[in-house]
Symmetry: C2
Subunit: 141 residues, 2 copies
């Protein structure tokens, strides 16, 4: 991955963080493709930039109103000349609930280059949680 | 997406289902790329075909021993000439616990064509759960 591509992806991730933190659902969805896929932490599968924008407008003015998200790019790599895969460490502080408190999640995003600009074609999010069974060294969390 | 590509991806998904149901962790990981990314339902991020195989060998002989997985390809589409995105409806019946019972999940998989064969470069899984807040019409789920 070129430094330029990595910087572009980091910039988009930072813009999404800022959009979340200012309650701007349309801004959060701005860099998604028209037909993007979105899977949220409850396994809900949304489809399309406009519905993703609408859903985020709703949650950022209700259950996640006033919440503060912190996105840190964990990893980004190329899958093809115009496709990149990113994993993000997400930490969300929710002031009122439920849900409230600190939620940690690990979203991944698949970026495609459209007309020279990186767009998110797929976003998939999962909360980081302890499994309901004892786990020993080497076992997947 | 050509019918041939869709059939190839459906076949891999069916082989993963079969591998899970026969407790074959190496078989489950067979179609992953050498450096694949894997995010499980607890937000654990695994890396590489061999670690993914080892982790599945472990869980299929312990917490998920005797479990029955059903994978149905929900959607598959091309992101680039050699990259495809698939979403899968997964239903897992776990005989003993915890966890036990019926778990529904929505994994996504990013496939890349390597030497003419489709391989999974990234797999990301999320349990389908009710959000901990009331949701009205139009809200995600």
């Amino acid at each position: 991955m070129t430094e330029q591509d990595r910087n572009a992806i980091e910039s988009i991730v930072a813009q999404m963080e800022k959009a979340w933190n200012t309650g701007d659902g349309a801004g959060f969805a701005r860099h998604f493709t028209e037909d993007a896929d979105f899977v949220n932490i409850y396994g809900f599968h949304g489809k399309g930039r406009q519905p993703i924008a609408d859903a985020h407008e709703r949650i950022l003015s209700t259950v996640y109103k006033g919440s503060v998200n912190r996105y840190v790019l964990k990893q980004a790599r190329m899958l093809a000349p115009d496709v990149a895969l990113a994993h993000i460490c997400a930490t969300l502080e929710v002031p009122i609930g439920p849900p409230s408190g600190r939620l940690e999640a690990l979203p991944s995003a698949v970026f495609v280059r459209e007309g020279g600009a990186w767009k998110i074609a797929a976003f998939h999010n999962t909360l980081i949680e302890e499994p309901p069974f004892a786990h020993n060294h080497g076992q997947p969390r």
